[in-house]
């Protein structure tokens, strides 16, 4: 299943803003990303699947979009 991954903010120092990956659920997707981008390890990231932010593991379908949202601190 081909999943579109979008990254934001400081994560762009580590990876491209748009990325395609094969994964069947969010946990598998994160495992693959961590292998490819070790700089993601230990970072606090909120995950949104098709526009819905969730901490649960979610099964992914072909063409789903997963957004990786880091915290911003500036004001």
């Amino acid at each position: 299943m081909k999943i579109k991954v979008r990254a934001f903010g400081p994560l762009l120092d580590i990876m491209e803003n748009e990325y395609f990956i094969e994964a069947s659920d969010t946990k598998a997707l994160l495992d693959v990303l961590l292998q490819q981008f070790p700089g993601l390890a230990g970072r606090k990231i909120a995950i949104a699947v098709n526009g819905k932010i969730t901490s649960d593991m979610v099964s992914l379908q072909d063409q789903d979009t997963v957004a990786l949202l880091p915290p911003y601190s500036g004001g």
Binding site: S73, G74, G75
Partner: protein, 367 residues
Amino acid sequence: MQWDSRYERHYTLPGFGPVAQGKLAASRVLVVGAGGLGCPVLQYLTASGVGRIGVLDFDTIQLSNLQRQTIYPTASVGQLKTKVAAEQLRLNNPSIEIIEHPVRLSKSNAVEILPQYDIIVDCTDNFAIRYVLNDCCVILQKPLIFAAIYQYEGQVAIFNVPDGQGIACNYRDLFPEIPDANEAPNCSENGVLGVLPGIIGLIQATEVIKLITGLGDPLVNKLMIWNVLNYQSMILEITHRADFHIPDIESLDIKQDVNGDQGHGGDIDTIHPTEIEVYLLDPKVCLLDVRESYEEPKFPLAHRGIPLSILPKRVDELTAMHIIVVCQRGQRSVHAALYLKEYFGKKRRISHLEGGIVHYLNYKKAE
């Protein structure tokens, strides 16, 4: 409600009108942080006629702030942000009330300050204060209009406002644990396009107005991401975490907080309750109670009362050469003393009573 030509464009706006204007006038909004986000929020809420606006910030104005913090004149560099912002805002709209809170937000002063307002706006620039503010707003059930920026992008959300299903999310639903500061360097470390906080701050101000007036579809339990380079924006739905532990009221332990703040107030001259009466024999000494007028117990020794919230407005009434500040537990008095020290410089001696009135009365009882 009295007709005020200042708001004519609101009165004639379909869907808004004098009723919505009246709601703004009856509202009390606290803006935490008077920096890049805080300036536009303050300026537009003031112009819009929000009845009472609190400005909370402990910092002074730096030259490098002026590229985006447009409320401050160049000549104000070095002065307290709350003081200068309040002066400018009063000039802009003298018919509303502007309250200065020249303090660093902590759990203990949040418990005192937040209840004075209906809506809180998070314009802070670091994770430590963001999490204190978030947790206090959860406990006190205060609507929190959150925003944060990074280089060319901003995030905005509304927390602690129940949606149609009665669910209210907060910042810990996004990020349960406080991130390391290096996960998202702030503007001073990583730069920011000057107009970005202007745009994101105005979205925050818009959400405040929508929430007060019931207009449109506010970002309740939604996170908006807005990018200035390509004008792409996204609105994401936030899910409440079932495993989220709402901090209980015990976590607002004041003693813990006083310890946390020792470094900040460490250079303030401290007077012990056993010494206070001796000091007061000197006519050059003035005892200043900075609690609100309704707070109990009343202080049994001769004193002046000017609440911390309006101290900057009335500071010139203080003529004594040595001012000893007191409050309930010796927490607000540190903040007030820091402010007075900054205001008077070396011309006056500024002290505070250790442990506040509570400590003094305990000592008298034991005596």
